[in-house]
């Protein structure tokens, strides 16, 4: 036991001295060591900068997706020949599902709008229900929003965007004025806030300049059923639960036929985006790691030169009792140190570079520990893998051949 301990501690002292000798050897060939380290550094910098920047971009994209459509999902129905959409009853049933706060149909139409002799065709008009306005309380800037009574009696009232105000009611108060949609008179009751309609629905269906009761919009479209529906859930995390609930409700409704409806949540779109960006960062990281391999070859080249130059030293060390393993260790430590110094410098530079890139692109910079671990681990591996064969070569040198050169 004591003997084992003394042999272990002896190896430790030897290791310490080997590290010391490696450091002084590296410092001795300053220029060469610097260039070799530079090779590794560039590789690691490239990997870190690319991976961190892409992950910053992807997290900011998925963040904005989530904030845009937090807790909402859209349902588009193509229906069957017997049932082409959803009735009011269906919507009530969906509202009654667990985790569902409410639903809001979107009935879109493209109409000709006119007032006071000004006319504009192809204006996007959208029918909404009262829940939409009670959920998105800040949509209406002036006047009133559309209420339950407007829905049940299919009132010809509308809420218009500020663009519409400028076009048709420039300089006058639009509230209470009359607007003609396809020659039917509507009373303006409210004005939409700019960019207020940034909900999922607007993202999917495009933003609308004029909002009317959905019942009125259905009538104008000569339709009775709703085909686009936004479902509001009580929590972001419940979207998958709601999705399966919806499937359970809709499948029997449409006779279990395929492709009769589709459900999209912003989370799932965001997830797909994140997945794609993740693959992209892998790809870019892979390309950047070619630089690391080139750096590794640089290390190998330097170590091979070093072994040849230090043949006499190796022979001498062997003559005074160094084991082949101890010689190999010495050279391995050297290549390991070179690549680790390069790796750490590369991590530092890569983090700085990606922070700069992120601030230039205006995305949030987040330190990716995975990328740092990857950079450090990769450079350590490069040092050992590419240092192995030169170190092996050194340890195999015959002391006689080495000493003959003296």
């Amino acid at each position: 036991m004591k003997k084992l301990f003394s042999s272990l501690s002896g190896r430790f002292y030897m290791l310490v001295e080997s590290v010391r000798m490696s450091v002084s050897n590296i410092c001795q060939n300053r220029m060469r060591s610097f260039l070799t380290i530079l090779g590794i550094m560039i590789g690691v910098t490239a990997v870190i900068a690319l991976v961190t920047t892409v992950s910053g971009v992807s997290s900011s994209i998925s963040d904005s997706f989530t904030s845009m459509g937090a807790g909402t999902m859209t349902l588009s129905v193509s229906g069957t020949e017997l049932k082409s959409g959803l009735t009011d009853e269906d919507m009530k049933s969906i509202t009654a599902l667990e985790h569902v706060l409410g639903v809001s149909p979107t009935v879109s139409a493209s109409l000709t709008v006119s007032a006071d002799g000004v006319s504009e065709s192809g204006t996007s008009v959208s029918g909404r229900n009262a829940f939409y306005f009670s959920y998105n309380t800040d949509v209406v800037e002036r006047g009133r929003s559309l209420n339950e009574l407007d829905m049940t009696s299919s009132n010809r009232v509308c809420v218009i965007s500020s663009d519409m105000v400028e076009t048709f009611f420039y300089g006058v108060d639009p509230i209470g004025k009359t607007l003609y949609l396809n020659n039917q008179s509507f009373t303006v009751v409210g004005v939409l806030k700019d960019d207020a309609d940034s909900s999922v629905t607007s993202l999917v269906a495009g933003s609308s300049d004029i909002l009317v009761p959905y019942t009125t919009a259905l009538k104008m479209n000569s339709a009775t059923m709703v085909i686009n529906l936004t479902v509001y859930t009580d929590d972001i995390d419940s979207s998958s639960a709601v999705e399966s609930e919806l499937e359970a409700f809709l499948d029997p409704l449409f006779n279990y036929e395929d492709d009769t409806y589709s459900i999209n949540s912003m989370e799932s779109i965001g997830d797909t985006m994140t997945e794609m960006l993740g693959m992209m960062s892998m790809l870019l990281g892979g390309i950047a790691s070619i630089a690391l391999v080139v750096g590794g070859i640089g290390i190998m080249n330097m170590m091979l030169t070093s072994v040849t130059e230090r043949t006499v030293e190796i022979g001498l060390k062997k003559a005074i009792g160094a084991e082949p393993g101890q010689i190999q260790l010495q050279f391995l430590i050297e290549s390991f140190l070179l690549s680790m110094v390069g790796g750490l410098a590369g991590v530092l530079l890569g983090v700085i570079l990606s922070a700069l890139l992120c601030s230039v692109m205006g995305t949030a910079f987040s330190l990716s520990y995975g990328a740092i671990a990857l950079g450090v681990g990769f450079s350590a591996a490069v040092g050992i893998v590419f240092g192995w064969s030169p170190a092996r070569k050194a340890s195999k040198l015959s002391p006689i051949d080495a000493l003959r050169r003296m």
Partner: protein, 238 residues
């Protein structure tokens, strides 16, 4: 082991050592059945011209090379048939090398150069430093411990090499042309140091081509064309 030291007959025995090299198609026989026995505390020089096989003999004595055939026993250990690692242990424990060019490592100071064999032997740092310092004192370089090789003269470097060879307390001190790179005055000082070491009980084998150097030893062994002949040191006076 201690039994072996007492048993002087087993201290250093070479029996019928043959060394052959493959030179292209032909086999060159460098050593043709060398027999050599050295007792503990002896001071022996191996004298021979270049090409006589003395370097090959030195390599085999120093366990840097192994014979094609024959037996070599060093301190009761059979040296032939050992692998690389075991040979390095023998070199670490039993042999102290002194080369023609002192061969200090240029990046290390005198102290660290002397410590080197102890580092590979796994000696603790404190003990290592003390032993190296003591040995440098012994060869008269106590005040130059922290000089780099380029700050030392050839003779001083050779003294560092001798300290390095002695620091492991080896069984055998093996010197290859130890004065070859030195001027006469320095060479004489080194020979005086060898005499002191011999008087102090160290076993020394010195390889040289120079009769004037060889005759410092009590016993001179001639090697010519791979074969040994023995002389007493006195016989070579003329």
């Amino acid at each position: 082991m201690s039994q072996a030291i007492e048993d002087r007959g087993d201290f250093f025995i070479m029996h019928n050592i043959v060394k052959e090299y493959q030179m292209g198609e032909e086999v060159a026989t460098i050593l043709k059945g060398v027999n050599l026995t050295i007792n503990e505390g002896e001071y022996v020089s191996v004298l021979g011209p270049s090409g006589s096989g003395k370097s090959t003999l030195m390599n085999i004595i120093g366990c840097l090379d192994q014979p094609t055939s024959g037996e070599y026993i060093l301190r009761n250990q059979w040296v032939d048939e050992l692998d690389e690692k075991e040979l390095s242990h023998i070199r670490s424990k039993e042999i102290g090398f002194i080369f023609q060019n002192s061969q200090m490592l240029p990046l290390l100071d005198a102290q660290k150069n002397v410590e080197l064999p102890l580092i590979y032997a796994g000696v603790r740092p404190k003990e290592r430093r003390e032993r190296a310092a003591e040995m440098l004192e012994h060869v008269g370089l106590g005040d130059r411990r922290h000089h780099r090789p380029n700050q030392l003269s050839g003779g001083q470097q050779q003294r560092v090499a001798i300290a390095r060879a002695l620091v492991t307390n080896p069984t055998l001190l093996l010197a290859d042309e130890p004065t070859g790179a030195l001027d006469q005055k320095m060479g004489r000082q080194i020979m005086e140091l060898f005499q002191e070491l011999s008087d102090g009980g160290h076993t020394i084998v010195m390889i040289t081509h120079d009769l004037n150097i060889a005759k410092h030893a009590k016993r001179v062994v001639h090697i010519i064309d791979g074969e040994l002949t023995e002389h007493e040191g006195g016989e070579l006076e003329a």
